[in-house]
C-alpha cells in the first residue's frame, strides 16, 4: 500500500512566512499594499479573492507531488464545501479533503452534495470527519450536543449516509436522524464513497473511529504517545473486525540545514506574545488539544524548550493559528522523522507549512524525494518512554 501525502489548503488566508503574524493573503487583515488576493491596483482592490489564492495553492500542490489537501473548517474560515465545489474544475488530480462536522448537515444532504461533487471532480472527494471541539465554538455553530453524544451522532450520521449512498430506499429511525424512503437519484448513485479520515482523541472518538474510519487521523504528538494512541485504535477496531489505516497531520519547517530551520523559528519567535509562553488555555472539550498541551513543561522561554523529541516541535501555534506540533529540521532530518512515522504504521500524511504555496513546492522538491518508506532500519525505537510513564493516558 503506498503512502498518500496531502498538503493542507489554508481556508482562512495565509501569512507571508512564520516570521510575521500578519495574514496578508486573503482579506483577514485590512487590505493594504503588500496584500494578496485581494491585492491593490492603483489603490483599489484588484478583484481577486481568497479563493484565487486557494486555487494557486491547489495547483502548486498538484504539481509538487501531493495527492490533495485538507480544507479545514472553523467559525472564522471559508467553507470547505464551497471551496471544493468552486475549485473542482480548476484542478486535475487534487483530492479535496473536506473537513466537516456531521451535526451541521443532514446526512441525506451530505450524500447528495458528495455524490454531485464526486461527479464534478471525477471522484476526488475525501472526508475529514470532525466531531467538534466543544465550548463556545460549538454553540456558535448552533450545536448544543455534548461531547460523547457528538461522537454517537457522528456514528449514526455515517451509518445513514452510507446506507443512502449504497442503495435506497432507506428508512431509519434513530436517536439523531429519521428518514423514510431516502436514497440518491439514479444519476448520482454508484460513485465511489469518499475515503473517511476520522479525527478525535477521546475514548468516544476512538470507538467511533473503529467503526467508520478508513484512516484514523491524529495531530502530530511525540512518537511514543502517537504509537500508544494508534495501538488503542487498532485494539478497538480489531474487536469489531476492522483495521483502519493511520494518518498524521503535521506542520513542517524544513530547510537545507538544521541551523537554517531553527533560525527561521527564532525570527518568528521575536513576535510571540510572552503571555502565551506561560502555557495554553482551553475553552472547549477537545481531548486532542489537552493531550498536546501536556507534552511540554510550561512555562517556556526559548524555542528549543518546546522540542519534545528531536525535531518534534510544539510551538507552531505560537507562530500561526492551528495545532501546536510539527517537525523542524533539515530536509533529511524531516524526511527521516516521516520515515519513522511510516515505520510506526502511518499510511498517510497531511503536511502543511507557512506560507502554504511556497512551502508545498519546497517540501515537494526537497523532502518528499528523500523518503525511504518502510525500510528495516527505520523501525521505531521501542526503548522510548511509554505514554503511561508520562501519565498521559486518560
Amino acid at each position: 500500500m503506498s503512502i498518500d501525502i496531502y498538503w493542507r489548503i489554508g481556508t482562512h488566508g495565509d501569512q507571508s512566512s512564520l516570521r510575521r503574524r500578519l495574514v496578508s493573503r486573503g482579506d483577514w487583515s485590512p487590505v493594504e499594499p503588500g496584500s494578496i488576493t485581494p491585492g491593490l491596483r492603483g489603490g483599489r482592490p484588484d478583484g481577486y479573492t481568497h479563493l484565487d489564492h486557494m486555487a494557486d495553492v491547489a495547483r502548486s500542490t498538484e504539481l509538487s507531488g501531493f495527492v490533495g489537501g485538507l480544507l479545514p473548517s472553523f467559525p472564522f474560515t471559508d467553507d470547505p464545501w464551497a471551496a471544493a465545489a468552486s475549485l473542482a474544475r480548476e484542478t486535475t488530480t487534487y483530492r479535496f479533503m473536506i473537513a466537516f462536522q456531521p451535526g451541521f448537515l443532514h446526512p441525506v444532504q451530505a450524500a447528495r452534495m458528495s455524490a454531485s461533487l464526486q461527479r464534478a471532480t471525477g471522484g476526488r472527494v475525501v472526508y475529514n470527519i470532525i466531531s467538534g471541539g466543544g465550548g463556545p465554538a460549538q454553540l456558535w455553530w448552533g450545536d448544543k450536543v455534548g461531547h460523547d453524544d457528538r461522537y454517537a451522532r457522528t456514528s449514526e450520521f455515517l451509518d445513514v449516509l452510507k446506507a443512502v449512498w449504497y442503495g435506497g430506499p432507506v428508512t431509519h429511525k434513530g436517536r439523531f436522524y429519521q428518514v423514510e424512503g431516502a436514497g440518491l437519484p439514479e444519476r448520482l448513485a454508484g460513485q465511489p464513497f469518499p475515503e473517511v479520515f476520522f479525527s478525535g482523541s477521546s475514548q468516544a472518538a476512538i470507538q467511533a473511529a473503529g467503526r467508520h474510519a478508513d484512516y484514523y487521523l491524529s495531530w502530530l504528538e511525540p512518537f511514543p504517545a502517537l504509537a500508544a494512541k494508534f495501538d488503542q485504535v487498532r485494539e478497538h477496531s480489531a474487536a469489531i473486525g476492522r483495521s483502519p489505516r493511520f494518518a498524521v497531520r503535521i506542520d513542517v519547517l524544513a530547510r537545507e540545514t538544521e541551523d537554517e530551520a531553527w533560525a527561521e523559528i527564532r525570527r518568528g519567535w521575536r513576535h510571540v506574545d510572552p503571555e502565551q509562553l506561560r502555557g495554553p488555555e482551553s475553552t472547549g472539550d477537545s481531548v486532542g488539544w489537552l493531550r498536546s498541551s501536556q507534552f511540554i513543561d510550561w512555562p517556556v522561554r526559548t524555542p528549543r524548550e518546546l522540542e519534545a523529541s528531536p525535531n518534534v516541535w510544539g510551538g507552531f501555534h505560537l507562530l500561526r493559528g492551528g495545532p501546536a506540533f510539527g517537525l523542524v529540521g533539515s530536509y533529511s532530518q524531516v524526511a527521516a522523522r516521516l520515515d519513522e512515522l511510516i515505520a510506526l504504521g502511518v499510511d498517510a500524511f497531511i503536511l502543511a507549512g507557512v506560507p502554504h504555496l511556497e512551502e508545498a513546492r519546497r517540501v515537494g522538491e526537497h523532502v518528499l524525494p528523500l523518503l525511504r518508506g518502510r525500510w528495516p532500519d527505520t523501525a521505531p525505537d521501542t526503548s522510548l518512554p511509554t505514554l503511561e510513564a508520562k501519565g498521559l493516558t486518560r
Partner: protein, 321 residues
C-alpha cells in the same frame, strides 16, 4: 425591429427585468449522443455531466442572461455544488440554488453561503423550497407537515440572517438555535444571498413578506390579486418584495415557426420574438421584475433567446435612458 408594446397608462420601470434560466441538472440533455463504434471518439472518460452543465452556464454568461437557477428537485444534481462551480466559471451571472430549508443548520447554510458570496462578488442566491410533497420531505428526514414547515423556514431564514448581520447573535427557536453566534471579519462583509421564495398559500405569502427579495409566481396564478396581497403583507413589516414569474417561452422568427415547435408545454408563451417580448413586457408592467425561464433550455435555445429576445428589452431601456 419593433419595441415591445407597452400597455397603456403604465409607468416606465426603472430597470429592465432580470432573466434567469433554469438549469438542466436533470434530464437526458446531459449525455451527448454516442458515436458509432467505427468512428474515433476521443471523449471517452474525459467528459461528464458537469461539462454539459458548465456549457449551459457559459452560454447564459456570454448571451447576457442575469443568472441561472439550479432547482431543488429530488432527481437533480445537488444545487449548491452546481452553482458554486458555475459561478467560479463566470463573471456576471448570478446563481440561485434551490434547497430544502432543513438541509442542515441555518448557521451552516449561512456560513457556506458567506464563502460563496466572497468567492463570487455577491452573485449567489437562495431559493428555499418549503412546500414539498410529504414523501419527498420524509426522504430528506423532514417529517413536518402543514404550517410548521413555514414556521421552521421562518426560523431558518431568521437565524441565517441573524448570524450574517450581527457579531453576537443568540436565538433559541423551536427547530434551531445559536448561542453567541455571528460572523466576524471578512465573512461578515458580503450581502446576504438574494432570497427567492414561492407558493400562494397565506403561510407562503407571509414567509415571503418577512424574508423574500423575490417571490416567484406561476403563469397560472392570479398574479394581480396575489401581488397586491403580498405587497400588503410586506408593507405591514415595512418591506417590499419583488415579483418573479416562472414560465416557458417558445420564441422564433415568426409565429408560425414558433407554433411548429414540438413538445410545447401548456401555458407557454409562444410567438415571434416581438410577440413574446410584448407579453413579457405586459407582465413587467404588472410588476414582474424577474423572469425564471423553464423548462431547461438547450444551449441553442439560450443563444437564440439571448441574441434575439433579450435585446428587445435592452433596446427599450436604452431609449428610456
Amino acid at each position: 425591429m419593433t419595441s415591445p408594446v407597452r400597455s397603456e397608462g403604465s409607468s416606465l420601470p426603472t430597470k429592465p427585468p432580470r432573466f434567469l434560466l433554469t438549469l438542466p441538472t436533470i434530464g437526458p440533455d446531459l449525455s451527448p449522443a454516442p458515436l458509432p463504434d467505427f468512428v474515433t471518439d476521443t471523449r471517452e472518460g474525459r467528459y461528464g455531466a458537469f461539462d454539459a452543465i458548465a456549457e449551459v452556464g457559459r452560454a447564459a454568461e456570454v448571451t447576457g442572461f442575469d443568472g441561472i437557477v439550479a432547482p431543488f428537485t429530488s432527481d437533480a444534481e445537488e444545487s449548491l455544488v452546481v452553482v458554486a462551480g458555475l459561478l467560479r466559471d463566470s463573471r456576471w451571472i448570478h446563481g440561485v440554488a434551490g434547497f430544502h430549508p432543513a438541509l442542515g443548520t441555518p448557521v451552516y447554510a449561512a456560513k457556506l453561503s458567506a464563502s460563496l458570496q466572497r468567492f463570487t462578488g455577491d452573485r449567489f442566491g437562495w431559493w428555499p423550497v418549503v412546500d414539498l410533497p410529504p414523501e419527498v420531505a420524509r426522504a430528506y428526514g423532514d417529517f413536518l407537515e402543514g404550517p410548521d414547515r413555514y414556521a421552521r423556514a421562518d426560523e431558518f431564514l431568521t437565524i441565517a440572517k441573524g448570524v450574517w448581520d450581527h457579531e453576537d447573535y443568540t436565538y433559541e427557536g423551536r427547530f434551531f438555535q445559536v448561542l453567541a453566534g455571528g460572523f466576524q471579519g471578512p465573512l461578515a462583509e458580503r450581502r446576504f444571498p438574494t432570497v427567492h421564495l414561492s407558493g400562494i398559500s397565506a403561510d407562503a405569502l407571509d414567509l415571503s413578506a418577512k424574508h423574500a427579495d423575490v417571490h416567484v409566481f406561476d403563469v397560472t396564478d392570479d398574479l394581480d390579486a396575489l401581488t397586491a396581497d403580498l405587497a400588503e403583507r410586506a408593507a405591514e413589516r415595512g418591506r417590499t418584495v419583488a415579483s418573479g414569474l416562472r414560465l416557458t417561452v417558445v420564441a422564433r422568427e415568426d409565429e408560425d415557426e414558433a407554433r411548429g415547435v414540438r413538445d410545447v408545454p401548456d401555458h407557454a408563451l409562444v410567438g415571434s420574438f416581438e410577440q413574446v417580448a410584448a407579453e413579457l413586457q405586459g407582465y413587467a408592467d404588472r410588476g414582474v421584475n424577474t423572469f425564471v425561464l423553464e423548462p431547461a433550455p438547450h444551449i441553442e435555445e439560450i443563444y437564440r433567446l439571448g441574441e434575439l429576445l433579450l435585446p428587445l428589452f435592452l433596446r427599450e431601456h436604452a431609449h428610456v435612458d
